[in-house]
């Protein structure tokens, strides 16, 4: 039986970092967009309280998401340790 070729661990790790970078990019993009809306409402003097009020709730939520993802990446991929059977 033919065995499939083993995948390069270096490539796997690089792609994992890329995956994490993508997650940061997504959440970072949303946060930048929310901040942009605050700046726009401030510039136009257009009920900035609404933008700030919603941002105070929304931005920390997105930061918690990315925090959880990073925590899992850190704990599982980087410092998961080796299994002793």
């Amino acid at each position: 039986m033919e065995h499939p070729p083993e995948v390069s661990q270096q490539l796997v790790r690089r792609l994992q970092w890329l995956w994490l970078g993508g997650a940061f990019l997504l959440v970072g993009g949303i946060i930048v967009w929310i901040i942009h809306l605050i700046v726009a409402s401030w510039r136009l003097d257009d009920v900035i309280q609404a933008s700030v009020g919603i941002s105070i709730v929304a931005i920390p939520i997105f930061l918690v998401f990315i925090g959880v993802v990073f925590y899992v990446f850190w704990g599982v991929a980087l410092h998961g340790g080796k299994r002793e059977d």
């Binding site: 995948v7 792609l15 809306l37």
Partner: protein
């Protein structure tokens, strides 16, 4: 500790390892629906919204109905899964994955309805560049983004151990599984980290899910339109979302139980418990509907009464009474006794509820716009083949995404089933003993 391997586990890998003719037939059938949707969208894109039944004063029709409906169905997954996980309902184990996948797939389809409804999708950029947070539409965009991010994370995290199993077992897609498994080997430290992360997400996802459908309701209730301006719209929408979500989950479970032979994992007891939940939600839905319409009727505000009578005995009566039949009468008849023919009864009730909840969304969106408060002439909404095509295409796209997911990842969480066999029986026994009268160990 040695893992207790289930002798029936192979059945969970079977759809990933090979595809039978049924799969290809299903893909072909769904592709036809998607093609119909794509053609409809191309016609609408090139000729404008004039090819649809959307005209003044009814500017929202099928697309917004579908948006609310699909976002509602998305509550099946993450919310139900999180509640069951936090309440340590052990029967959740074969269900949670299916539920979480529904959420992720359906949010994309739901949010896409707004793009379709725009007519000019390029104008979406205006929302990103010049959006204003005074508008509930922007609240929607923010909360749906949060829900989507949370749901994707909440789907992915419990999949890591299963992806590692696939990486070690299968000969194909080695790179994909190796990357996504994050080097999982099942060490104590890894399990601790993952369990903590899942617990955080489970807690976080519940208020986010509730906020999403509350905010969807605010799009309507923040206006002064008759039959929309209501303080209970938020909870009413959330109840309806969970209601339709459970129904959607049950139908999905039954389809895949049959298609993949999962009878060993998805037992009648699971359908009985979900059926009981469905019955509770049916009663709750009826209570909210009754309260909503009674308040409007008692106030007897003239503009409100036009919409009220349009639904009860006017042009929308077939939809309104079908909704009551599908959401209340049929579920009540099917679900009050689930001792026999459990799966069949729960399936009939769930299909009725899915139809009924779509009608409910339609009944909320269209009649109010047909009889607006402002002095516009009254309008009639009749969808064209374009809207039917978009709707069929959206359903096809959802089903195809779901089907493809099952070809890459196990639809039932393997490690959670193993964990259940290894630890939960003892844990549940200890938990039950701790509820019963006996000596109390004080922990302060």
């Amino acid at each position: 500790m040695a893992e207790i391997r289930d002798p029936h586990e192979d059945i969970l890998f079977a759809p990933i390892e090979h595809s039978g003719p049924g799969f290809y037939w299903a893909v072909a059938g769904l592709s036809v629906l998607i093609l119909w949707g794509a053609i409809a969208y191309m016609v609408q894109y090139t000729q404008g919204l004039g090819v649809t039944g959307l005209h003044q004063p009814v500017g929202w029709g099928f697309y917004v109905t579908n948006f609310v409906f699909f976002i509602g169905i998305s509550h099946a997954g993450t919310l139900i899964s999180a509640i069951l996980r936090l309440s340590k309902a052990e029967w959740r184990r074969p269900i949670t994955r299916m539920a979480e996948v529904i959420t992720c797939m359906v949010i994309f389809i739901g949010a896409g309805q707004i793009l379709v409804d725009l007519g000019r999708p390029d104008r979406m950029m205006n929302v990103l560049r010049h959006g204003r947070y005074q508008s509930p539409l922007l609240w929607d965009a923010t909360s749906i983004s949060a829900y989507l991010t949370a749901s994707l994370t909440y789907l992915y995290l419990p999949m890591i151990p299963d992806i590692a199993i696939l990486r070690d077992r299968l000969g194909k897609r080695k790179l994909l599984y190796s990357v996504l498994a994050l080097g999982w080997t099942g060490t104590e430290h890894q399990q601790k980290v993952l369990n903590r992360a899942i617990a955080i997400m489970a807690v976080l996802v519940i208020p986010i899910a509730i906020s999403v459908h509350s905010v969807v309701s605010f799009v309507f209730s923040m206006t002064l339109q008759p039959a929309w301006h209501s303080t209970i719209f938020g909870p009413y929408f959330v109840v309806g979302a969970i209601f339709s979500g459970i129904a959607g989950l049950i139908v999905t479970m039954i389809i895949f139980r049959k298609a993949y032979g999962l009878q060993y994992y998805l037992k009648p007891i699971h359908f009985r418990y979900l059926g009981q939940l469905l019955l509770i939600m049916a009663l709750l839905w009826f209570y909210f509907t009754f309260a909503e319409y009674l308040t409007g009727y008692y106030g007897a505000e003239p503009e409100e009464m036009k919409v009220f009578w349009a639904k009860f005995s006017g042009p929308f009566w077939p939809f309104f009474w079908s909704m009551v039949l599908c959401n209340f009468v049929i579920p009540l008849l099917c679900l009050t006794s689930l001792k026999q023919h459990t799966v069949g009864k729960v399936l009939i009730a769930s299909l009725a509820i899915i139809i009924g909840m779509w009608l409910e969304r339609f009944i909320i969106v269209v009649p109010t716009l047909s009889f607006p408060r402002l002095p516009f002439p009254h309008g009639v909404y009749a969808p064209t083949w374009v809207e039917w095509g978009e709707t069929a295409g959206s359903l096809g796209l959802f089903a195809l995404f779901y089907l493809l997911f099952t070809k890459f990842f196990p639809i039932i969480s393997i490690w959670e089933i193993r964990e259940g066999r290894e630890n939960s029986v003892k844990e549940v026994e200890e938990r039950i003993l701790s509820y019963l009268p006996g000596e109390v160990e004080e922990k302060t």
